[in-house]
Symmetry: C2
Subunit: 527 residues, 2 copies
Amino acid sequence: MSITGEMLIGRQAVRGNEAALRAFNPATGAEIAEPVFGGGSAAHVGTACDLAQQAFDPYRRLPLTVRAEFLERIADGITSLGDALIERAQLESGLPKARLEGERGRTTGQLKLFAQVVRAGQWLAATLDSPLPERKPLPRSDLRMQKIALGPVAVFGASNFPLAFSVAGGDTAAALAAGCPVVVKAHPAHLGTSEMVGRVIQQVAQGMDLPEGVFSMIVGAGNAVGEALVAHPAIKAVGFTGSRAGGLSLMRIAAARAEPIPVYAEMSSVNPVFLLPEALAQRGDAIARGFVDSLVLGAGQFCTNPGLAIAVDSDALKGFVATASQALGGKPAQTMLTGGIHSAYEKGEDKLAATAGVETVARGLDATGPTQARAALFVTDAQTFLATPTLEDEVFGPVSTIVRCNDEREMLAVAEHFAGQLTATLQMDSADLAIAQKLLPVLERKAGRILVNGFPTGVEVSHAMVHGGPFPATSDSRATSVGTTSIERFLRPVCYQDFPADLLPAALADSNPLDLWRHRDGEITRS
Amino acid sequence: MSITGEMLIGRQAVRGNEAALRAFNPATGAEIAEPVFGGGSAAHVGTACDLAQQAFDPYRRLPLTVRAEFLERIADGITSLGDALIERAQLESGLPKARLEGERGRTTGQLKLFAQVVRAGQWLAATLDSPLPERKPLPRSDLRMQKIALGPVAVFGASNFPLAFSVAGGDTAAALAAGCPVVVKAHPAHLGTSEMVGRVIQQVAQGMDLPEGVFSMIVGAGNAVGEALVAHPAIKAVGFTGSRAGGLSLMRIAAARAEPIPVYAEMSSVNPVFLLPEALAQRGDAIARGFVDSLVLGAGQFCTNPGLAIAVDSDALKGFVATASQALGGKPAQTMLTGGIHSAYEKGEDKLAATAGVETVARGLDATGPTQARAALFVTDAQTFLATPTLEDEVFGPVSTIVRCNDEREMLAVAEHFAGQLTATLQMDSADLAIAQKLLPVLERKAGRILVNGFPTGVEVSHAMVHGGPFPATSDSRATSVGTTSIERFLRPVCYQDFPADLLPAALADSNPLDLWRHRDGEITRS
């Protein structure tokens, strides 16, 4: 598949006529000369959104088996791109080949899991209340409810997962599974990768003769195209993974529309790790090495990167800091995704190092390339942490701060101090249960996922996963952007009252033709 | 129970020291002299919200049986107020006694239904993914998910349901059921009724020794108190039923907070009724009489009042208009809830009557009291309707406009033209199935509930009910404010990864001690 630099609008490949973009290679810092990607205009956005609007009813009303097949064929198409896709993604992201192969597996696995979810149909939440014609003073009607798709969805690809959170990533898979057409704004950090994957979706949609407009992909320099996308009346929800500033900007645009719409923005998190006393005493060295491995994974460019560790001061903590420092000191610098991310990292790391009350205890090996990040480890005390709001800001990259507390009470105060997080972690042994039980209600309020004796990097795509959390981790703590329940972001309930059988949706028919588990008069039944 | 004019903040009764309010009697237009209600300040709001914050963890972690008992005892306490409550509500609202008795039954029934919902625990959405320790390349963790309460909720009572959508109404019941403390802003149109019900909740909470702050009720003249409530950092969600301007104002405040929060505002809807040709031909007169009865019910002061009827022109439609006009012409004027609602109604009705292309075909009987509304019926044609956006604005009261279409195509264009609605109705016979099938996908996009051969007034409190819909019917089409699934508005998911058994929430324990239907590895099971 050749990369042309065109956008994909419905069944067309369209060359943008606004400011051009070029892909670039973060390992060398050099632009990739060919092809040039033409930037889209508000008119292109309008065409894509109008097509999405026209596709909405026919697409959402297709048999669920067709929708599932669409997702599976996209997965197969991505696999069929073979090494060419991995090589292009490697070139554009600087990520290692094995990591990208793993990410491709995650991407195709996610699409196939959503195909299963679509077929199983539990997301329809089919609910039936039987009529009570004899009830006094008034009879009760026949009431049936199912969830339907929200409408066309705008998806913003993430820089740090060029496959799994991008053009055919989690947001797209969940939206298409829900019955929503998707308009993707391709991330400028992996334009060629985006086009390759986008063309797969376009070809599959055309090959299956799906409604034109079920998928489009727009490219643009700057923010204008993305802003026009979120502002377009046809768009009914937004999926975004990126910076806090970017997410907040989209939230503002969505809230200012004539019809405000939901924005699911996954933004920033420092993912605190609580090192409880007995765990530190029993296996502090092992935890320190695991912590550093999690911290430097993928050059620290994970949303769930552990940016803070919190512990009560002790000899065991001193040992932990020593072991972690030694481990981190041997970690090679790694190429970051973009020059912008790299310079933000350098700035953030410098700011941490210069913060009063913050001690630099270790640095990784020096950089050997233009956008490489050197890991760093800092230590501060709880009073400094509580008094310095910037210490809670996410620094995207391989950096973490250890917060030393005087006692358990101070550790609880630090936990209570946090804003919303994607994750919080407890490193604990059975003798730590009492303090863990005190921390748990606080952490439940603060985080979408709480881990025991693991590290937060590594987000499983499964039914029970929550990749979400209170603001500012995300814009909407009611949702997850990873896992099968992420489909719920793009659904809304509709009630059908006293419908004749021949007008009822299949999910709500008496005979249960879709073989769903349904809520009937308050009971869960498959009959 | 005596009404003192105090606010209820935690376990205290507190006299507000800001601008005072008096209850009033809409039937006479006169203020009720005693007691005076002291208006609250931002400081009162702060105290109530701080107490709610402190109550949050202890309240949400009580056994579900205690939470359920709380709701049941509130219901019993309301019943125990006996006629005194009905008389006060009648005095303050002008609503007939039978209507208020029915509404009281709805309110207590709703609380008891939510008690059942709390005990059944399906809202926990307990989900378990088994660990896969042997999986390659990486093992899978033990992942378990449940939903927990969002945090303290601000509830704004509605003017038109002084019991069922007010202090102990649907929003409060759903929030308390979810595990959220509630701070109510009492509606100035029924201050005494609010205090009576608020004192019941306060006494029950104290009698059960629930955490102080699980419930408070604030009073205020003007918007300042409500605005301070929505802006308070402890508040994590807002429930509101009222005007579009009021809802939009709360949405703006919520979006502008340092931590934006969800607002569930149920605002405005004209609830179109489609009169399909065969139904009109077969039983136009009966539909006309039912339509007018629905239209004037409760002086038209229902969110689901049918404000528009749409039909293809025919002799049958002429007959419908004649019968509806005759029926409406005999309807007595009715006292409206407040002077403000009455004057807005008069203004809205006058504006409709004066709109070019709109013909007044019937008026109800003349008013005999100061705030009585006289019903009105108008007719226009589809082209006028499509060209006149104000014809789609809700006029709160007993008024409706019949839109005459030239053909089916024009009827579809009118349907497509609508903004979001709480309801849409099809009056149809079997011979109308083809046009109903064309309308259905459009109406699914436009409304939260679609009725066949009924009238939209009358909202059942059940499992399958959706009282919601796309903007501007509500601020969030993903939610319903009536029915058991309204609890979902106040919940968010949390994932527990690799938790030891003694730290796991009961809903997720291996032994399933709460006897829940749970999602386990993608299957639904109770084992």
